[in-house]
Structure formats: C-alpha cells, structure tokens
C-alpha cells in the first residue's frame, strides 16, 4: 500500500469526520426535551427536502 498516496485522502476526510462527530455529539447533549430533538430533526429534514428540490 502506498502510504504517501493515502495521506491527501485522509487530510480531506479528517475535517468531514470531525464535523460529523461534533454535530452528533451536540445532538446527544442532555437537557434537550424530546420535542426539541424532534424539532431539530424536522428542521434538518426540511433543509434536506429544500436542497433536493433545488438541485
């Protein structure tokens, strides 16, 4: 395996992984009611639907 060839790929993937991890961690923070969690999920689904229509 060519390690040098993998490094640029890892450099690209690392920020993506960190961002996703942080978002998921924030979503699990305690103190949110079920209604708040579902409202946040609904807002995300709305954004996905809007992006799907726009693309």
């Amino acid at each position: 395996m060519n390690v040098a060839a993998i490094i640029p790929l890892l450099e690209q993937l690392l920020p993506l992984g960190i961002n996703l991890y942080q978002e998921l961690q924030q979503s699990t923070q305690t103190g949110k009611t079920i209604e708040q969690v579902l409202a946040q999920a609904d807002a995300n689904w709305d954004a996905i639907a809007a992006a799907a229509k726009g693309n």
């Binding site: 993506l16 998921l24 995300n44 639907a49 799907a52």
Partner: protein, 153 residues
Amino acid sequence: MRYRNFAFLSVLALFLAGCPTATQEKAAQASLEASIVIQTGQQAEIAAFNQQLIPVSEHQFIETQFGSLAVIGKTADSCIAGANAQAATLVCLNTALNGVDSIYSNGGLYLKSQQARSIYQVAVGGFRSALASIIVALGGTAPATPTFAGGAA
C-alpha cells in the same frame, strides 16, 4: 471510498454508544442522527456532482431519493411524537425502516457510477443503521440489510 465509508460508520458507532435510555428519546435521537447523516451525504453528493464525478441523471435520482427520505423522516418524527408506548414507537421505527430499505435497494439497481453508489450506500445505509440499531435496542427485530445490487456499467 472505503476510507470514507469507514469514517462515516466509525462516527456512527461512536454516537450510538452514547444514546440516552428512554424509548421515545432514543427514537427521537435516531431520527436526528439520521437527518444529520443524510444531510452530510447530500452535501457530499452535491459537491461530487459539481466536480463532475456523478452523471446528471444519477445526481437527479439521488436528490429525488433524498427528498423521499426527508418525507420518511418527518413522518417518523410525527409518529414518534405521538407514540405513548414502546410498542407504538417500534411501529414508527419499523415503518420508517421499511421505506428506507426500499429506497436503499432502488439505489443499488439504478446507480452505476462508483462515486454515486458509494455516497448513496453510506448515507442511506447510515439512516438505516440508525433506525435498525434503536429497534434492536428497544427489543425489536430489524430486518437484514437489503441487497445493494448492480455495479459499474
């Protein structure tokens, strides 16, 4: 793409390890998690399309499927909000999972480009994993992951 798949699934596993305990709350968190995974997958797909790595027809197909997943997600959210018992919550999750599985299989049959297939499989598979994991955690039985048929043209 194997590394990207690994990165996504590793993060997913980390998240699932920290899920709260209440039934309805677990289901709500699963939906939120799924929406984040799909949103991330959608951004990756659009970026790949803009770099001309995905054909127009496959891009349009994927975005249509993401739109359908959003409908499934919102329907599940509404169902979970109204579920007052574990059995009812499981019905919400299983109904959503059936819809997601159908969309997952359709992608395998339609998509040909490797980039499109990889992004789709990780994103929709991530949605599926979020639902299936919670179903099992709540004592239900999740169906096996459907076949992602097809391949490069």
